[in-house]
């Protein structure tokens, strides 16, 4: 089974990279880009039947730093 984990900075945590992308889009002439947040996508190839709780555990222990990041899990 394939599982996709999205890791994003929490709301309120300033994202310097996202800000730089927003500026760059503005410089390219794209008006109206009001905000950019940059995150990570992690795809996991897991043994069939792996529980979502196990994936959650992976996120809590390693894949995300829950001090500054949130994560969402999607079974593909």
């Amino acid at each position: 089974m394939k599982v996709r984990v999205d890791v994003m900075l929490k709301t309120g945590v300033l994202d310097p990279q996202g800000e730089a992308v927003r500026h760059a889009l503005g410089n390219l002439g794209f008006d109206g880009v009001e905000g950019v947040r940059q995150g990570k996508v992690i795809e996991l190839e897991l043994a069939a039947g792996t529980s979502e709780d196990t994936v959650k555990d992976m996120c809590e222990k390693l894949l995300a730093n829950t001090v500054i990041e949130n994560y969402t899990i999607e079974v593909l």
Binding site: V13, L14, P16, Q17, K61, L62, V67, I68
Partner: protein, 222 residues
């Protein structure tokens, strides 16, 4: 004083840190990250700067899962001393030994230069040889030194006097200009600037010496 310096793949300030401890009079053992136990009778563990595991995933995230790191966590839980510098600070936050997280510098640039720090607390082995409010000059060399804590946590750190150093001219966007923080029991210090690169006249400055001297004094008299 017995010190150990942990070496991860990608550590590059491990020898500098060992030399700084030695110059202060410590016996230093280098410990590979795959070792499962720190040496017996250790007074302090140094977690050095560098780019452990190529900064993959997040700076310090993979090193925080190394076998030796479990032993480091036990050492600090027992009240042992630890000093994490630069990548070492990132490892200490990733393990949860110290609060907060270190993010990409706000200007997105790798910053490598001497910076002025203000000593915010002298109530720790690491900072007792400085005077409160003293300005010291220590080099920084990092891409991810932007210290992030919630406003509530910042207030708590201030109330508990756990901010060791602040930047005089904040180079990286750190919350509250924080350059280094102390653990609740005041025996663990994490900081982005490199005091071990300021212990010899040939380094261009010796403002880091007092940190190692302070640790030595505290641990020898303990």
């Amino acid at each position: 004083m017995k010190a150990a310096v942990i070496v991860f793949p990608g550590s590059n300030c491990d020898r500098d840190l060992a030399v700084a401890f030695e110059k202060a009079g410590a016996d230093v053992t280098m410990v590979w990250h795959k070792d499962t136990h720190l040496p017996e009778g250790l007074d302090i563990v140094g977690v050095p700067g560098g780019f452990s595991f190529g900064d993959y995933l997040r700076c310090g995230a993979i090193a925080a899962q190394s076998p030796i790191t479990k032993s480091l966590i036990r050492h600090t839980e027992r009240g042992g001393y630890a000093l994490g510098i630069c990548n070492g600070f990132q490892v200490l936050t990733e393990t949860g030994i110290l609060p907060g997280a270190l993010m990409r510098n706000s200007n997105l640039k790798f910053i490598c230069k001497p910076v002025d720090l203000k000593v915010e607390s002298t109530e720790s082995a690491f900072t007792q040889a400085y005077t409160l409010g003293q300005k010291i000059t220590v080099p920084v060399a990092h891409h991810d030194g932007n210290y992030n804590v919630t406003p509530e946590k910042l207030e708590q750190l201030r109330d508990e006097g756990r901010i060791a150093f602040t930047y005089v001219d904040n180079p990286n966007g750190s919350t509250g200009d924080i350059a280094g923080v102390i653990s609740k029991n005041r025996r663990v210090l994490g900081m982005m600037p490199h005091p071990e690169r300021a212990v010899d006249e040939n380094h261009g400055g010796t403002d880091g010496q007092a940190m190692f001297r302070g640790v030595m004094d505290a641990l020898v008299s303990a």
